[in-house]
Symmetry: C2
Subunit: 240 residues, 2 copies
C-alpha cells in the first residue's frame, strides 16, 4: 500500500457546478468581464434547481471569481485577479484577535523590504517613470487642508503596489494588497496625521524610488524596512 485512497463521497451538486465554472474561468474559456448565463439558463444547462445554482454562485462570489449584479443585463460577471479573498481571510484572523498590529507590521516589513530589493534589481526605464509620476501626483496632494490627505494616502498605496508589480510576483502583490487594506484602519486611527508627517512619509518614498532608480537593492530594502518600522513604531506608541 503505497497510495492513500480517498473516501468515496458523491459530489454535492452545487460543488459540481462550482468546479465546472471555476475551471472554465481558470482555463480562460470564460474571460474577464464576460457575463455568465442567467440563473434560469444555468439551471437548465446543469439540469438542476435554481437554489443549487445560487449556492454555487455564492461560493464563486466568495472566491472573488465572479461578481453578481441585479437587474436587467445583470448576473454573474467574471472578475479578473482580485485580492479580495486574501484580504478577507486576513481580516478574519484580525477579528478573531489571532493577528495583531505587530504581526501585520512584521509581515509587511518583510514584504516591503523584499519587494523594494527585487524592484531595484528588475526595474526598467518605464517602471521608474511610473514611480516618478506617482510621486509627482502625491506631492500635489500634500497640503495643510486635510481634504487632500485621502488622495495622498491613495497615491502612497499605489506607489507600494507599483513596486510590487515591478518586482514581478503576483503572489507578493496580492498579499501586500491584503495587508495594506487591513492595516489602513490602524493608520487612520492611531497615526497623528499632520502636514509634517505627510512630508516625512513622502520623503521616505522618494528615498526608496531613488534607490530603485540607482539599482541599489540593498539600500532599497533597508529604506523600505525602515519606513515600515518607523510608522509602525509611531502607531504602537499611540496604541496605548
Amino acid at each position: 500500500m503505497n497510495v492513500q485512497f480517498r473516501k468515496m463521497k458523491p459530489l454535492k451538486s452545487y460543488q459540481h457546478v462550482v468546479d465546472e465554472i471555476q475551471t472554465a474561468i481558470c482555463e480562460g474559456n470564460l474571460k474577464e468581464g464576460e457575463t455568465l448565463p442567467s440563473e434560469m439558463k444555468l439551471k437548465e444547462m446543469f439540469d438542476t434547481s435554481r437554489g443549487t445554482i445560487r449556492e454555487a454562485l455564492r461560493v464563486l462570489e466568495q472566491r472573488g471569481l465572479v461578481s453578481i449584479r441585479t437587474g436587467v443585463n445583470g448576473g454573474a460577471r467574471v472578475q479578473g485577479a482580485s485580492a479580495k479573498p486574501m484580504t478577507d481571510s486576513v481580516a478574519i484572523l484580525i477579528r478573531q484577535q489571532r493577528v495583531t498590529l505587530s504581526h501585520l507590521a512584521e509581515f509587511r516589513k518583510m514584504m516591503e523590504g523584499h519587494i523594494s530589493e527585487q524592484a531595484a534589481k528588475k526595474a526598467d526605464m518605464g517602471d521608474i517613470q511610473k514611480l516618478m509620476a506617482i510621486l509627482r501626483d502625491a506631492a500635489a496632494h500634500i497640503q495643510t487642508k486635510p481634504s487632500g490627505w485621502t488622495e495622498f494616502h491613495k497615491m502612497d498605496a499605489e506607489f507600494h503596489r507599483t513596486l510590487a508589480e515591478i518586482a514581478e510576483n503576483p503572489l507578493l502583490e496580492a498579499n501586500l494588497t491584503a495587508v495594506h487594506s487591513n492595516i489602513q484602519i490602524y493608520f487612520h486611527q492611531y497615526l497623528p496625521w499632520s502636514e509634517a508627517l505627510l512630508h516625512d512619509n513622502f520623503k521616505d518614498l522618494c528615498g526608496i524610488a531613488a534607490a530603485v532608480e540607482q539599482r541599489d537593492p540593498a539600500t532599497a530594502r533597508r529604506m523600505a524596512e525602515e519606513h515600515v518600522a518607523k510608522f509602525n513604531a509611531l502607531m504602537e506608541k499611540n496604541l496605548e
Copy 2:
C-alpha cells in the same frame, strides 16, 4: 466635504445572516467545536427562509469559519483557525497561471528565511525540544522503501510549521501553510525523490535546527534560504 459617503444599499438578507454569525464567532460567543442550530431553527431565529440561511452558511463555509455535516447531530460546526481560505486563493492564482512555481518558491524563500531568523531569536528550551523530536521522528522514516517517504514529507512540513509557530506570527504561519499545500504537487511531480535526496533534505533541516538552537539568526536565515533555493533549482531543472 472631508468624508466620503457610501452609497446607501439595503443589505441583502443572507449577508446580514453571515455578518451576524461571523461576528458571534469572532467575538467568541460561538466557540470552536460548537454546533450552530439547525437550518430550520436558524430560519426561525432570523425570521427568513431556509434558502437564505443556506446561502449564508455556504459563505461561512467558504471562509473556513464553519464546516457542515449531514445527518442527525450534523449541521454547521464552528471551525478554529484554518488556513483553508488562504490556500484556496493561492490555488486559484496558480490555476489562472498568474502565479508560477518560481513565484511560489520566491515567496517561500522569503518567508522561510524570515521565519528561521525569528525562530532563532525567540526559541526557548521547549521549542527546541519540539524541533528535535520532529527530527527524530523524521529520521525514522528515511528508508529505501518509498512507502515511508510520505511520512517523512509530513514530518518535513511539520518542522517548517513548528518553526513558524516559534516565530510567533500566525499570519506567517497561515501563509506558509498555504504555500506549502500548493507547492506540494510540484514536489512530488518534479523532484527525483530517492533515499539520497531525503538524506539531503534531512541534513538541511538539522542545520537549521542547530542554528536555531545556538541562537544564530543570521545562519538560520541563510540555511533556510539555501534549503529552499536548492530544492527549487532542482525542480526548475526537471520542469523543462
